[in-house]
Every structure is written in C-alpha cells, then in structure tokens.
C-alpha cells in the first residue's frame, strides 16, 4: 500500500516536472509538428526534385514525420522563394538551395535576400567537366590556345540561367577571344551536337557525358574542382592546366532565418544522418560523387556565400545585357 503510494507520488512528480518542462525548450521537443513541407523549383521528376526526395527519405523516419514535396516552378526560384517567404520560421518548411536560388535573389525579383535564409545542409556538389569531341584536341593546353585565338561555340542551357553564368566564368578564366553561347534544352542534345561538331565545347556533369566518353565519342579535358576525382583520376583539374576556377552543380536544403536554434540543430542532424545512408550514397554514386558531397551548415553556408559573390562578378555583365 505504502509502496504503491510512493510510486504514485513519483509518478505525479515526474508528470509535474515534464509538464513544467514543456514551455521552455518546446521548439525542439514539439518539432516536428506535423508533416514537413519541402519546396523545390524544378518540375516533379526534375533534378532538384529527385535530389530532395532521396535526401529526405531516411529523415522522415528519424524525425518521425513525413515529408511533403512540392514543386513551385516559375522564374527560376522566384515562386519557390515567394512561397517560402510567407511561411513562419519554424522549420516546418524546407526549400532547395542551389545556384538558381542565388541567381534569383541577386536579380531582386523576390523579397528574400541571402541574409534571410540559412543554408542548412549540402547534398550534391557535382563538378563540371570541360567536354570536347574525342581526338579534336590533344590536351587542355591545345584547347586553351585554340580558344584564345579562334571563335568558340560553347553549348549550354538557357541563356541567363546559371549554366550560362558558368560558361561566362569559364570564358573569363581561359581568356577566350570570342565565345558564342549556343543554348539547348537538354544535356543529351548538347552531347550529340558536340559529337557532330555543331558546337566545340560544353561544361557537363560526369553522368551527362560518361557513356559517350566510354564509347570514345567525346572526352573531358579537365575537371573544374580543386582535386582530381576518384572516378576519373586521369583527368587533370582546371588548376593544373591553367583554368583556375571551380564550377559545380551544388544542391542543398535551406530553412528560414529566425527558426529556433534547437530546431535547426535537430533538422541538420537528421538530414545529415539521412544523407549518410546507403540509399543516398548510391544516389550520389550514380553521378560519380561520394560522401564528400555532403556537408553541414558551416561548410555549406560559407560555400553559398562564395558562390553568390562569384556569380555577382559575371552576372552583372549578364543581367545588364
């Protein structure tokens, strides 16, 4: 009887403590409160959509909630950011952070600036390769010499988009005499037009050209990263051959600034754990990447800042006319 009473007392005491504890660190305890929305700026099935689905797959289990993926396309990331801007900063809304996000903010077509968001985790850093028709140039040096004294037709996607910005960065780094930018809608078309010599060169990701490189139709002259890739150890970096720029397709997940720190911490941990799972690493391996693509708040924040500034240099030139 007495024994039972003590248990009862203890139970009440614990109950009281836990009740009292709710208001203070509520943010992290109560989070997530219902499903988490994930907003991307590509159509369903597009690159960013697929990235987000893989990146959040395990996080749903870790956080004990579900993720709802929404596409808000239009104006690069304009509609995505406008949608996000109306949401409370409570961590229930995540969004894609990539070059498009930076470019859209730079254009000033949205109210959000880079200081209003927290780039939370990075999921992909897919390096660009300088790709030409196989056998056309013996090495990068020959290509650079050619480009400095001849007009070069460079293929990419939509004019004014981030691939175009990348092409301009490459133009400046090489000191091309005359770059004619020929835009295509899909990377597949770009590869075909390099092979049939309608265009001279393009910046492509590993998975976009590797089939044709193995078939001996195209070849990569350089990879635009600080280090050589484990996948293609024979391809020199841009730094080695005299094109000292780093260009990659960077994709990550962001959250609004003002979100309580414990919530941010919880999300960051969960997303990092989710991305270090076998499923996500296999997804990365599909495009020739590994776990080094994954990074947390600190590294990704710094990178987004650097990306923003790098773009600003050429984008003025681009947006102005």
């Amino acid at each position: 009887m007495f024994h039972n009473f003590r248990i009862l007392l203890t139970a009440v005491a614990i109950g009281g403590v836990s009740l009292a504890a709710i208001p203070a660190p509520a943010a992290a305890e109560e989070f997530p409160n219902g499903p988490i929305e994930v907003i991307n700026n590509s159509k369903p099935g597009g690159g960013s959509d697929i990235f987000l689905r893989f990146a959040t797959e395990q996080a749903a289990e870790i956080l004990g909630t579900s993720f709802i993926h929404q596409s808000k396309t239009g104006g690069v990331a304009t509609n995505t950011l406008n949608y996000v801007a109306d949401k409370p900063a409570n961590g229930q809304t995540l969004f894609i952070v990539n070059a498009g996000t930076a470019l859209t903010m730079m254009r000033g077509s949205v109210d959000l600036t880079k200081d209003d968001i927290v780039p939370l985790v990075r999921g992909t850093i897919d390096p660009e390769f300088i790709v030409v028709k196989a056998g056309r140039f013996t090495d990068a040096a020959e290509f650079i010499a050619y480009a400095q004294s001849n007009p070069v037709k460079q293929a990419g996607t939509k004019v004014g988009g981030n691939p175009h910005v990348s092409a301009l960065i490459m133009r400046d780094a090489i000191g091309m005499s005359d770059q004619v930018y020929v835009p295509f809608e899909k990377s597949g078309e770009i590869v075909i037009n390099i092979i049939n010599r309608n265009v001279d060169v393009a910046l492509l990701n590993y998975d976009e050209f590797i089939s044709q490189a193995n078939a001996g139709e195209v070849e990569a002259l350089a990879i635009l990263t600080p280090e050589r890739s484990a996948n293609a150890p024979d391809i020199p970096t841009g730094h080695e051959v005299g094109i000292p720029v780093d260009i990659a397709v960077v994709r990550g997940i962001g959250v609004l600034k003002g979100t309580p720190e414990p919530v941010i911490k919880k999300l960051e941990t969960a997303l990092l754990e989710s991305m270090n799972s076998d499923g996500y690493l296999e997804y990365l391996a599909g495009s020739g990447q590994d776990a080094s693509s994954i990074a947390g708040r600190e590294a990704f924040g710094a990178q987004f800042e650097a990306m923003y500034e790098g773009y600003q240099a050429v984008a003025k030139d681009l947006l102005g006319g």
Binding site: G74, V180, I192, N214
Partner: protein, 504 residues
C-alpha cells in the same frame, strides 16, 4: 536469336509476370488521369525502384512508361481530355467517334493500334538498337528545323475547317509557344511580369482547357436538349473490317513513331502529331473524314506514340542520351543502380536488356488484354447523363491542371483556355491547328535560332545538310504537290483539246 531466348526467359518468371500485370494496371490508370503521366509516376517510384534488383527495377519503369502512354488515349476518346500530351491528337477523331455512340469501337482501335505500334517498335529495338542509335547522331538543330517545317506543311489541311481558319489557329498556337523566357536570348516575352509565365505556358493546361473545358461549356449550353443515347452500339468493339481498314495506317505510323522516338529530343507528342499529319496526306480515301471520327485518325497517333516509347529507349540505352522526360528519369535510375548505359551495355548486360525488352513487350500485350476487356466497360462512361458526367470531368480537369506543377495559376490558365476553346469552337476554329502550332512552333523557332548561332548567321547552310534539305524538299512537294498536279492536269486537258481540235 539469343536475345529472343533471353526475353522469353525473363517472361517465364511468374514474379516478373506479376510485376508486368500490376505495373501495367497502375500505369494505365495514371496515364488516363489528365495531367498525371509517366514522368511523375516514375519520379515517385524512383526511391523504391533503386532498392530493387536492377533488371526488375528498370523493367518496372519501362512497363509503367508503356502503359501510361496507352492510358492517355482512354480519356482522350471518352471525355475529350488527353490523359497525357502525347494523346492530344487522339481526341481529334476519338471523341467524335464516342459522340456518335461508337466509344467501344474507338477504344478498341486505340488499344489495338497502341499495342501493335508498341510491339513492333520494341521488336525493331531488339534487332537494331545499336544500328538505329546512329540516326540520333545525325540530328542537330538544322535537321530538327526541317523536320518541324515538314510537320507544319500539313497545317492548311489538318482539320476540316477552312484553310484560312486553320492558318489563323496555327499562328495563334505559334504565338502561344513564344510565351516565356526565350531560350536563345533570355528575353521574356508575353510574361507580363508573372513569374508563373517565365517558363512558358504548359502544353498540358492548354490542352485540358481547350479540349475538355471547351467541350464542357459547349455541352452546358445544350443541357436542355435531350441527348439520345445510342446504347446499343456503344460497347461494340471494332469489327474485323475495321482492323483490315487500319493495318496500313498502323504500320506507317509505327515507322514514323519509332523514327521520331529515336531522335534525341523528341518523343510521343511530336511523333503522334506527325503521324496524324502523314495519315491525312497519304490516306486519300478518307480525306474529308478526319476530325469527324475517322478510325484512321485514332489509329495513327496511337500507333505512333506507343512506337515512340520503344524508340526513345534506343538512345537512352545505346548512347546514354535520354529521348524525353520519362527516359531521363529511367536513365537516372540506371545510373543509381550502377548501370552505365552506352554501346558496351549490349555486350556486358544482355540480361538487363532482355529484361527491359521483355517487360515492355509484356506490358503491351497486357494492356491489349486490359484494354479490349475494359473497352466494353469504359465505353459506358459515355452513357452517363451529361449533367453528371461533365461536372465530374471539370473536377478531373482542374485536378489535372493543378497536379502537373502543383500550381493554382495553371488552373487559371486551364479555365482561360476553356472559355477560349468554347468561343473558338463556336466560330468554327478547330483545336488541331492550335495544338500543332504550339507543339511544332516552339521546335521551329528554337532550332532555327540554334542553327543561326551554329552557322554564324548564314541560314542557307541549313540547305547544305543532306537530311535537312531532304525534309525541306519533301515539305515543298507537300505544299506544291496539289498545285503542280492541278497544273499538269490542266495542261493535259488543253493538249487533249488541242489534239481534238486538230482532228476536226
């Protein structure tokens, strides 16, 4: 020969058969729902697919791809709403047939043509993928420009409406295609500062609006009229005579569909468009009947868009270059599963290829069965009273417009085009030329501008590309052929009269 045995071996496994039966059913339903299609379905399946064994996973994607392409025709015929963009051309003759009380016949023709087109497309693929892939290398902007011009050359006669109205409709379609940020200049055209218009107006919304919405409004004005329901003929399947009538059409369209599918950037949509055009050009017997319920008008686009599914797999597997949205995601899945598409795939992974081909063959046979059995039931939808059916359709139309990009703006676009479709219809403008302008107009403009950049502003260089020159020449013949024939006829008559005159 060995390839065929591997295909049979894949199909002999009951597990694979279950996947084919299930995948085809799901694909068929999603394809029939307006706005939803293979791209969205495969994207949703992707996280599960990459956990499966590679052959089964990729096979499942291929099955779904085949089944959705066919599924689009069901709603196109029954409620004038293409389930997928590739089925837009199927509405031109499919819906008039359903209105005449021949829904079962139209569905049967669509099912049969789809399956035959699909199966033949895959057989071609099994035999000649590495060889066919070479065609893809030959197609640059100049060639695409010429191909689109060739398609456009049928604009004047694509629908029964007057030639002038067809031209006006076509021009309007081309104008619509210009909305959005221009690919080659980055300039925004007709966007009115609306971010939703920066990427252009989605073809799906326009089609749902013009076809389903326009029809809904038209029916609404006739709600007081008692519609006579010809129940007897509705569930009747096509007769043997029908099949005999369309076999040439199916073969022709399968050829066109496979060819266009192989090209690196175009898929079922353009394939169905060109096949429908060519059917009109070649089938002189039914010339006046297209757009009014000619079964050839259903058979041609359906055979072509299903043959194109086989075709688009060719560059995806053999070159690692996807031919369209769905194959782009299939390619992603293959890369995640550690498969490297490319010429070496055929040597290294014969089992995988047999699996894909087998699954696609199985899916086509499977939907042939579902479709033929189902046609009897589906066709009853046309017997549902208008006052119940069309409100349901408008819900579906809104849902379809929304779900494509999860945007209310798109629903507004759909409603706008519904109203427009109604007025166009009242004044005798057919939707066909508008859709043609929309689909081919963008291709023409983009490829012309790309050619301009590639040939340093010298557009005559297009004529020096043999394939491009051939298509342009064909379009010239297509346009001037009737005139020349008329002139020759008149000349002969004069000669004959002259000779007779000499005799006297």
């Amino acid at each position: 020969m060995e390839a065929f045995f591997l295909v049979l071996q894949f199909l002999a496994d009951p597990y694979h058969l279950a996947i084919i039966a299930g995948g085809t059913l799901v694909g068929l339903i999603v394809g029939a729902l307006p706005g939803l299609g293979s791209v969205i379905l495969i994207a949703l399946m992707l996280p599960f697919v990459v956990r499966m064994d590679p052959t089964t996973g990729i096979a499942l994607c291929a099955i779904v791809y085949c089944a959705t392409t066919y599924g689009g025709s069901i709603t196109a015929i029954l409620i004038n709403t293409p389930g997928t963009p590739a089925a837009a051309m199927t509405t031109f003759d499919g819906f008039p047939l359903a209105q005449k009380g021949e829904a079962g016949r139209a569905l049967g023709i669509a099912t049969f043509s789809s399956a035959i087109g699909g199966i033949l497309g895959i057989l071609v693929m099994i035999v000649a993928t590495p060889l066919l892939a070479q065609v893809a290398y030959q197609f640059g902007p100049a060639e695409f420009f010429a191909l689109a011009v060739f398609g456009m050359s049928m604009l004047a006669s694509i629908s029964g409406a007057s030639m002038t109205k067809n031209f006006i409709g076509g021009a309007f379609g081309i104008l619509l295609a210009t909305v959005g940020t221009d690919l080659t200049t980055g300039v925004q055209r007709f966007t009115f500062g609306q971010p939703d218009l920066y990427e252009g107006v989605a073809v799906v919304q326009i089609m749902i609006g013009i076809f389903a919405g326009g029809e809904l409004l038209r029916q609404a004005t006739q709600a007081h009229l008692k519609r006579r329901l010809i129940a007897a003929g509705v569930t009747k399947l096509p007769s043997r005579e029908d099949f005999r009538r369309i076999w040439k059409t199916v073969l022709r369209s399968t050829g066109i569909g496979t060819f266009i599918g192989i090209l690196p950037a175009e898929g079922g949509k353009v394939a169905a468009m060109i096949a429908y055009n060519e059917e009109q050009r070649w089938n002189k017997k039914r010339r006046g009947q297209f757009g009014k319920g000619a079964i050839e008008g259903v058979a041609a686009p359906e055979a072509a868009n299903n043959a194109a599914t086989g075709g688009t797999m060719v560059p995806t597997l053999a070159l690692g270059i996807p031919g369209g949205g769905s194959t782009a995601i299939i390619l992603t899945a293959m890369l995640i599963l550690g498969l490297r598409p490319g010429p070496q795939l055929f040597v290294e992974q014969p089992n995988l290829l047999a699996g894909i081909f087998g699954a696609m063959l199985g899916a086509n046979i499977c939907f042939l069965v579902y479709g033929m059995v189902g046609a009897k039931f589906f066709s009853r939808i046309t017997l549902v009273p208008t006052t119940i059916l069309w409100p349901c359709v408008i819900c579906l139309a809104c849902l379809g417009a929304y779900s494509f990009q999860q945007s209310m703006f798109d629903v507004g676009v759909m409603v706008f085009f519904a109203c427009l479709g109604y007025f166009l219809n009242r004044h005798g403008y057919a939707p066909a030329p508008i859709v043609m302008g929309l689909i081919l107009g963008e291709l023409i403009e983009t490829s012309l501008k790309q050619s301009y950049l590639i040939y340093d502003g010298n557009l005559f260089a297009i004529l020096q590309q043999p394939i491009a020159a051939m298509f342009l020449l064909l379009s010239m013949f297509g346009l001037c052929g009737p005139l020349i024939a008329k002139a020759i006829g008149a000349y002969r008559d004069r000669q004959a009269a002259h000779l007779r005159g000499n005799d006297e």
